[in-house]
Structure formats: C-alpha cells, structure tokens
C-alpha cells in the first residue's frame, strides 16, 4: 500500500489546480512560507542559543522557553498550511523526490521532539538539569530544524 494515490489526487484537486494556475500564486505562498521559516528559526534559535549559554544568560531558561513557544507554534501552523498548499501544486514530483521525504521525516521528528521532549523538559525546573543535558537538547533541536530547512531548500534544486 503506497500513498501515491493521495499525491496524484492532491495534485488534480481544486487546490492543486489553483496552485498551478499562475506562477505568482505559488511564489506568493512560498514567500509566506519563508517568512514563517524566519519566525520559527527565531523562536527555536532564541531558546537553543540560551540552552547553549551563548545568549540571554541573564534571562531564565524557563522564561525564554515559554516566551518563544507560542511563536514557534504560530510559525509552525503557517509553515504546515503553506507547505501543504505548495505540495498540492507539485505533489507527484515531490512523491518521487527523496529530499521531500527526508524533509517530512525530519519535520515529524522535529515536531515530536519540540512538543513532547524539549518543551516539557524546559517547563519543569530546567535549573536542575545538568549543563550538558541542556546543551544536548539545544544542539539536537537546532540540528533537526536546520535539516528540515536545508532538505526543503534542496527540494527546489532537485525537482
């Protein structure tokens, strides 16, 4: 059982047709995707740089984590919506593109890591965690999202 029928259906759907109709449509959706990428990057990096002790050392980890989480979620929602829209325009091509699948897997891991591991960990007394745990979480988080962004960019070069 493959998911290929879904991709074929999506590209032929009204959303797919809409996204393919004018180049300006896809380009505009992609520009919004990029803006949300910048916001997600800011939210993730602000926390990860704090965990690594590089910046905002005089602000508590809990404050930084809490302050950025809301924006991380907003950015992620915009990214998922615009990403889905773009997928509809080029679905069958993405299906056959290994970089697309790399991105999707990294994205899934990234979301699970952020929501189920990093945020709960940092919400509950991060001062009690060892410095190395905090650094590891920061590096893991940043690496995952960098992989998502980089493989996303490479989809564009390999279509």
């Amino acid at each position: 059982m493959t998911v290929e029928p879904f991709f074929i259906w999506l590209e032929a759907s009204p959303l797919g047709v809409f996204m393919k109709d004018k180049p300006a449509t896809f380009a505009s959706v992609e520009a919004v995707h990029l803006l949300a990428l910048a916001l997600l990057g800011g939210a993730v990096l602000a926390t990860d740089l704090r965990l690594l002790g590089v910046t905002m050392r005089d602000v508590s980890i809990a404050t930084v984590a809490e302050g950025t989480y809301k924006w991380f979620k907003y950015a992620l929602i915009v990214l998922l919506v615009t990403g889905f829209m773009m997928l509809a325009g080029v679905a069958t091509k993405c299906y056959g593109n290994p970089y697309y699948w790399t991105k999707m897997i990294a994205l899934a891991i990234g979301i699970v890591f952020a929501v189920a591991i990093k945020q709960p960990l940092l919400r509950r007394e991060p001062e009690k965690l060892s410095a190395w745990t905090l650094r590891l979480v920061g590096v893991a988080s940043f690496s995952l999202w960098f992989l998502v962004a980089a493989s996303g960019r490479w989809i564009g070069f390999s279509g």
Binding site: P23, A24, A27, S28, E30, A31, L34, L35, L37, A38, L39, L40, G41, G42, A43, V44, L45, A46, L49, V54, T55, M56, D58, V59, T63, G67, T68, K70, W71, W145, F146, A149, A150, R153, W154, F157
Partner: protein, 191 residues
C-alpha cells in the same frame, strides 16, 4: 544615461571569469543561495523576536532593552552573512539583477529598514528607561517595530520574486512604468 551605466556595469561584471564560473557552477551557486536563505532563520529570526517585543506581543516581562541587546549579536552575525552571501550572489548574474525591478525594490527597502532601525535605536537609547519594563511599549516604539516587520516582510517577498522573469526587460507586455523602474534601455525594448 544612468540606465546605460547599470547595464554596462552588469554586463562587464557578468563577463568576468569569476562571475561566469559562479553562474555555471552547480554546487557553489546553490550552496551560496541556500546559505543566504537559511541564514534568514538567524538574522530575521532574531529581528522578529526583538520587534515582537517592541510591539508588545512577546516577552512582555523581559525589559525591552535587555532583550534587544542580548539578541543583537546573533542577529548582526546573521546580517553579516546575509550581506556577504548577497553580494556574492549578485556577482553571479549581475546583468540580470541590475535590471530586476524586484532586486532594485529589495535594495531600496533594505535601506529604509536600516534607516528605520537606526532612528529607532537612537530613540530607544535615549528614552528606554521610561518604558523598558512596560509589557506594551509606547506608541512611537510600536510604530517603529511594526514598520520594521512590514519592511522585512516586503524584503523577503521581493527577494523571492527576483527569480521570476515576469518583468524582465524585453517583455512586450511590460508597462512603461515597469520599463522605467527596471532601467530597460531602448535596444532591449525594441527587439
């Protein structure tokens, strides 16, 4: 006359072995462009957090000047990378970029964003002690923050649109305004 200067400069630079090499490379150009786009997460990411504080939407319990001064360094490192990669990207296809309305608009907006930031930072340094701890800063600060967010949104959009050829010189459907804005020369407009 200025249009001729831009065209001549773009064509001269495009003819150099540096530019040709970069333009024809597969990996070098793409790595450069990828770095430029991905570094947005650092430069613009930090800027968004700072501006969101300035419009009173984020980190309301952290003093504004503290947030700004802590995030300035990573932000500026990011901008340094953006400027270097940006200039290098320009040298790859200069004849295209000098006559791209999107590229020209992007540069103008970058200058405006920079001026906005300078004016705001000067104002902030002078007045911040009065509103530093306010969760929602005063109106002038909020306007500066919102202006910054709006300008950078437009900058990213223009940056993305540079790649498209909708308004390239030589297109018959170009309006007079577009031909003027792009600096199209007479030879380009009448093939």
């Amino acid at each position: 006359m200025v249009d001729r200067m831009f065209v001549d400069f773009g064509r001269w630079l495009a003819g150099t072995s540096w530019s040709t090499g970069l333009h024809e490379s597969f990996y070098m150009f793409n790595w450069l462009e990828s770095t430029h786009v991905l570094t947005l997460m650092l430069s613009l990411g930090m800027l968004f957090i700072i501006d969101l504080r300035m419009v009173g939407l984020a980190f309301k319990n952290t003093p504004a000047s503290q947030l700004a001064s802590r995030l300035d360094m990573p932000m500026n490192i990011g901008f340094g990378i953006m400027i270097v990669t940006g200039i290098l990207l320009f040298t790859a296809i200069p004849d295209r970029y000098t006559q791209s309305v999107w590229f020209r608009l992007k540069l103008i907006l970058l200058v405006l964003a920079f001026i906005n930031a300078l004016v705001f930072r000067r104002h902030m340094n002078a007045s911040v002690s009065t509103w530093d701890k306010d969760p929602v800063p005063p109106k002038r600060t909020r306007i500066a923050g919102a202006t910054s967010l709006a300008l950078w949104t437009l900058i990213v959009i223009c940056g993305r649109f540079i790649a498209y050829d909708w308004y390239d010189c030589g297109k018959t459907e170009n309006s007079d305004f577009i031909n003027w804005a792009a600096g199209c020369t007479a030879e380009q407009m009448s093939p």
